[in-house]
């Protein structure tokens, strides 16, 4: 925080990429998560299709669709997300770029921060990862940064807590 960061908008009105990248371990985390969710769905479709003949014809299209989604979630999404996701916490704002098919670039100024959390789900704990959640007064306006190292997330939380304390007002 010694050198002030360059403004988020470069000349010409295009945004600068946030500076930090996320952990490579997040790829494995996303893969495991997709396998559990979409694998379970695929199994839930597959079992009745195998057991009950008349239902089979109705389940072909959903089965193919679920299979394609699972493949994409395993082979494409994690790598793509890893390439896209970026984040940055400065004393002025928290910025995050995320997504794969739908990409999002989100910024929330420090003056509007209300709570800062580091969340660690069971799978994330397995990989030593944490998700940083910076919420504003708007219930829709949270900036979520997934796939951070646990220690990095804790540091960011501590820093944001200091920054948010410095800014006055009720942040609505």
């Amino acid at each position: 925080m010694t050198v002030p960061p360059p403004p988020l908008l470069a000349d010409g009105g295009q945004p600068r990429q946030p500076r930090e990248r996320i952990e490579r371990r997040a790829i494995a985390w996303w893969m495991l998560r997709s396998l559990l969710i979409w694998g379970a769905l695929l199994a839930a479709l597959l079992v009745p299709a195998l057991l009950w003949e008349p239902l089979r014809v109705w389940l072909i299209a959903p089965l193919i669709a679920a299979g394609i989604v699972l493949l994409a979630k395993l082979a494409v999404e994690p790598w793509w997300r890893f390439a896209v996701h970026r984040w940055e916490v400065t004393e002025h704002a928290t910025t995050a770029a995320s997504g794969w098919l739908v990409r999002e670039w989100r910024v929330s100024p420090s003056s509007r921060i209300q709570t800062v959390d580091a969340v660690r789900g069971p799978l994330e704990q397995l990989f030593g990862l944490a998700t940083l959640r910076v919420t504003t007064a708007s219930s829709a306006g949270a900036v979520t940064i997934a796939g951070l190292d646990r220690a990095t997330a804790e540091r960011a939380v501590a820093r944001l807590a200091v920054v948010a304390e410095l800014t006055e007002g009720d942040a609505t």
Binding site: P5, P6, P7, L8, L9, G13, Q14, P15, V57, W58, I60, A61, P62, T90, H92, A93, G99, L101, V102, R103, E104, W105, R106, V107, S108, P109, S110, S111, R112, T136, A137, S138, S139, A140, G141, A142, V143, T167, E168, G169, D170, A171, T172
Partner: protein, 546 residues
Amino acid sequence: MIPQAAPGAATETPESTESTQHAEPVEGTGWRRLSPRVIWVDAALSALAVLPAVIAVRCFGVAPTLTNLWPFLAVIGLGVVAGITDLIRWRFTRFRVTAQEVERQTGLIVRRHRRVPRDRIRSVDTSAKLRHRLAGLRVVTLGAGQQTTSGEEALALDALSRAEAVRLRALLLGERRADPGGVPVSRPAPVPDRTGAAPRPPTVTGEAEELVFARFRPAWVFYNCFTIWGYLMAAGLLWGSHWFASSFGVDLFSLILGGLRAERLGWIPTVLLILVGAGLLGALALAAHFLVTNWGFTLSRLGSGAQSTLRTSRGLLTKREVNRDEARTRGLSLTEPLLWRWIGMTDTHLITTGLSLNDPAQPAAILPRGPKRVAVAVAERVLGEPSPFEVPLPRHPNAALLRRIWWATGLTAGLLAALAAPVLSGALPVWALWIALGVWPLGLGAAALAYRALGHAISGRYLVVRSGLMNRSTVALQREAISTLAIRRSLLQRWLGLSSVTAMTAAGWFVYEATDVSHAEAFALAERAAPGLLAGHGAAHDRAGR
């Protein structure tokens, strides 16, 4: 059954307190009771509950057996139980206004002690049902801008005498009005007005500067009686009257059906007749409902500058008054349903923090559903000139239309693909595919309509965005109220060179979006929508702007 000692209640209630006919100061402590007229009203209601049974037996000669009279007995039972509950509630409820807080204790078995800091109170609303109005009572509800999801008012006092309600509102709102920033400032304790003498000065000024923006017009009825809910209303009415008539020994349904059968109209005319009849009945019921709830509607501003409130009051039998703190206002939205756009039907909602949009009482609606011209005029007076609803909203790029066409086509293709296997194997007839194909032109029409609804502009303090297919809503959102900005692009949007700019705020629906602007413009729009937020010194700009 021993009432718990309320946490932090420094004072005790002396027991012998029944004194004047209104407003009950419990001597020496500032604690007050609700109006004792509450009890008389409930006693009268219990007596009224007996009336239907008496009429049924006396005038209609219904035999007084248990089978015939159980509905009436249930009504009597409910009336008496309600009366007793209210008596207990009155006996065990007390409240007081201290320098910092409003406190209320209530409940016999479960004692509740609630305290609301006075500087958090954002609204003081009064309402009165017919029985309250007859007895000169008002229900006072304090709103403290709690999370809109909790769906609970801060504190309700049911009920006070009218004079007491006016005094309480003046005390609480007048107090806040004198307090510019909403920041808690320690000041000498204001003495709650116990004597019932002249109201405090802030009331006088506060009540005097009433500026009326809109008044009820009977023509608005036509905007409120043709909705699909009319059929539900008609069904409810028919069922209710059937039930009612059957307890007098009349079978309404077989009467109507017998009448229809006698006409020998054939199937289709009969169904049409029932539909039209029920529709008319529903429309009439909705019209009556609208008149009863909105009669005497007025929208007015009290006070001026940053410390003003927007007040609506309406109702023929139940009078509802809602006061909205304008310091909490973040904008305004006008919503036009697709089917009635040709007559300019418009809903007007305030975008404000602390008022729920899901509340069935619609506290954020500052006008009943009515003509657009009135809504726009009111918007101009509420938001000030120049009205953000008057600015022209340029068309979005053609790529936005293309995106909608792609979606309509893609959805049709997906539907066809999903039906392909069942049709090929003979599980579904071939015409199912034609129906699926029929979705396509509908989708294309919807695409064109949705595209034409798009628009965005920046007008003075406001970001204006418009979108929506079935309900086209035009939103003017204060630019300094934006707390988070997001720019989103799907794969298709990237390919077409489009972006969606989303502004998030603490008020209203929380998310307002300029959908499908050209990507080259997106970040510039975001920067102009929330000045300084992207430039990296959002904090400084933002504070200076308030």
